[in-house]
Amino acid sequence: MNAPQRLLGAAAATLADHSRLLGPLPGVDGAGILRAAAESSLTGRGGAAFSTGRKLASVAAASDPVVVGNGAEGEPASSKDRRLLATAPHLVLDGLQLAARAVGSRTAYLYAPADLLRTRLEPALRERRDDVPVTTVASPGAFLSGEESAVVQAVQGGRAVPTSTPPRVFERGVHGRATLVQNVETLAHLALLTRFGAAWFRGVGTSAEPGTRLLTVSGAVAAPDVLEVAGGTLLADALALAGGPTEPLGAVLVGGYHGAWVPAEAVADIALSRDGLAPYGAAPGAGVVLALADSSCGLRAGADVAAYLAGQGARQCGPCRNGLPALAGTLRALADGRPSPLLVAEVQRVSRLVEHRGACHHPDGTVRLVRSTLRTFSAEVAHHLAGRCTARHGALVVPSETEEAIA
């Protein structure tokens, strides 16, 4: 079950080490990169899993486009982009250059946390003689700061919050130009598959989920870590690679805070693929795998995540400003054991009210998490309505708002 460590095995601190390990940046032209990306079936690794080949082709059709490497990683339970940028900066920068070449762009940005820009990425950029100059932009680290329209806002010098869509950024993005916003892991894969070919890329994983992907496995596992696994790996195998569960699990949160829970009894047979996770309303997303011990209260964990998400809203439109705090507050009341069946109905009512009404997907993602919590932990909900909680201790650690403000 050990997959080739294509990304994590490409660690190189200097450009010389990087070139020695992987060879120089390939001289293939833009059309060649577009073809390789399409044949590889690579999908975006920021969460939305959109076809990279199709996105590149769409932006390549526009005149004077912009490319942005997105390393913002607002997901609190994810640290794979940070790991990749810290260990293999030149692989990501290669991918950014190749993406710019593929779409015919002369303007490239790298959007990443300030500390990584200062310590890893700008030193790496100083070593390189790139065709397309790269402008660095610091990402603020808030949950929504990596959403593609928020990325465009930040690159333009504004506040990193989403804007309403359409137009999508690949139609009208940075200063009105068609913009390719691509996650840094996606760019690293692009750098490798352009070098070694689409067939090589597809040599690992399943036909529906080719290649490898990075996961951040955390929670009740012995060795929480960033891991590289083959596409379509079983959820249980991913947990085993992180040392295995430290105690019996109740459920696993998959995809991210906008993701969904997979109940423990399903973990053994479920693949980390779109098809495998679809019955639970989940998707591999940004590669988040968060194990929740059976001794923890899933309802409280869900309420914690919902409260975090409500606090991270952009507060630009009604569902975010009023709806999500109301939703999180009601779930909190339920989790804290106020025994009223009306609370469940209220959660469902507010969920319906905020759904599909936000300018961005934040309300929808939060509703998905809340509904998954009620569904997965329905037994726990019944206990809480009877004034009991079966959990022995509190739930998973969710960054509090104060920590977020300090960081």
Partner: protein
């Protein structure tokens, strides 16, 4: 507080604005040169370029308004817009008016950047290279302290800073070093060995 306050305030903010605009020009040149250092990363340089320009704008506004209100300076409203009509040293004062017009152009074009398009905005931003020398010469030729030792030292420092940044900018002409290579390339043995 006397009427002199306006006069001193106007002169002081003029000198401060010149210093800050020098910093704006230096940072702008550094952004375009791609220069960075661990102590001053690129994303910091461009963020400070933007915020300093707005701070300098505030000082410039105070400089202009106080001297307009000050009876001694004898400025009329038209002198804020049309250069070289002033009562006192019209040429040197006119350079200040010219610099002000160009600053307004720079700020407005930057605010309207998305509407103008990149090429138009960049063309208009070249006005900065005219604006800063106009302001500098205005300070020396028109300023009450224009030729005092400390002012000349400050001006010398400003010129040196912009000159240094300009050198970096001109040296930054990039060369392409992409090597041609057959694609797909064989996976290098060292990397292949580390894959498992």
């Amino acid at each position: 507080m006397s009427a002199d306050a306006l006069w001193y305030f106007g002169r002081g903010t003029g000198v401060s604005a010149l210093t800050l605009f020098t910093l704006v020009v230096v940072l702008g040149l550094l952004v375009r040169s791609g220069w960075s250092s661990p102590a001053l990363p690129r994303f910091v340089v461009s963020a400070v370029h933007r915020t300093t320009s707005l701070t300098a704008l505030g000082l410039l506004a105070v400089h202009v308004v106080t001297l307009l209100l000050d009876p001694y300076a004898q400025l009329r409203l038209v002198d804020l817009v049309v250069p070289f009509l002033g009562a006192y040293r019209p040429f040197w004062q006119g350079l200040g008016t010219l610099a002000l017009d160009l600053v307004v152009l720079l700020v407005l074009s930057s605010l309207l950047r998305d509407r103008l398009g990149r090429r138009t905005w960049r063309a208009l931003h070249w006005a900065a290279y005219l604006c800063w020398p106009a302001a500098l010469v205005h300070a020396v030729g028109n300023g009450t302290d224009g030729t005092s030792t400390w002012m000349l030292a400050l001006v010398g420092g400003c010129v040196a800073a912009v000159g240094g940044a300009l050198t970096l900018r001109l040296r930054a002409a990039r060369t392409s070093e992409t090597e041609t290579q057959s694609v797909p390339a064989p996976v290098p043995p060292a990397y292949l060995a580390g894959l498992r």
